[in-house]
Amino acid sequence: MEIIGIQSYLIISLIMFSAGIFTTVSRQNIIGIFMGIELILNSAALNFAAFSRFSAINLEGQAFSIFIIVLAAAEAAIALALLLSIYRRHKEINAEHLNKLRF
């Protein structure tokens, strides 16, 4: 088994994905949940680039990684703006207490 191979990349992004799932489900703070989502998106982009490199056919995996990065940046901006709005209105960002769809 080579050290710089597809297996290493798959294991790294698998650990990152599992940590992201755990963080997303178990946090109380909304910013913590958001960090988990970032980890999940990051591991998916890494997997796309790794399969593109080691199948060695063309570069389409890297194009998908670029779109994932763009969507993650857009999601970050919108999520943090919503977070500030929620904080001004409720004075807290605990996900346990924000369980109603109407204010």
Binding site: F22, I31, S52, R53, A56, S65, I69, V70, E96
Partner: protein, 172 residues
């Protein structure tokens, strides 16, 4: 065949990526989580360099580290009193058991599958990857993926205006 210098660097970068993930998942201080996320994203950029994806590595540094991490730190410091920052990232216990069980089952089953079907992951026959990927990536983005490219630019415009509107309403 010993371990070469490049592989040592790869192992260091991989550890720099994986270990802060666990700190993000288990730390109680949210500032520690944010800085660990910074190191994870930096390590992912290094892993992109090992994949010969230079543009992705640079874009990762610019977008994630220059944008998302700074935005996260601003959001943390705007929404929390500085005194109570140490216990602001608590786990919800009734969800933590479920989350730990589900992610552990996912991890164990995928590792079992990977060990059992290891030959499934062998490299393809043609392993001549283009030496400098930037030119071909630009041609791919502007020919085949032109419509998603334009859609992404429209999305970014909408996000710019929308986040301004939401944050302005909050200031009132």
């Amino acid at each position: 065949m010993g371990i070469e210098m490049k592989e040592v660097v790869f192992i260091v970068v991989a550890l720099l990526t994986v270990v802060p993930c666990l700190i993000v998942a288990f730390s109680r201080n949210i500032l520690y989580s944010a800085f660990s996320l910074f190191f994870t994203l930096l390590g992912t950029s290094g892993l992109y360099f090992f994949l010969d994806a230079e543009f992705l590595a640079i874009a990762q540094v610019v977008v994630y580290i220059g944008g998302v991490t700074v935005l996260l730190l601003f959001a943390i410091l705007l929404t929390k009193n500085i005194q109570e920052i140490k216990e602001t990232n608590a786990l919800s216990m009734k969800r933590a058991y479920f989350a730990g069980a589900s992610s552990f089952i996912l991890l164990a089953s995928l590792i079992f599958l990977a060990v059992k079907e290891w030959k499934f992951f062998e490299a393809g026959p043609g392993t001549d990857y283009p030496f400098l990927t930037l030119n071909q990536l630009g041609e791919l983005m502007l020919n085949k993926y032109l419509l998603p490219f334009e859609a992404a630019s429209i999305l970014l415009l909408v996000v710019l205006i929308g986040s301004l509107v939401i944050a302005k309403r909050a200031v009132k």
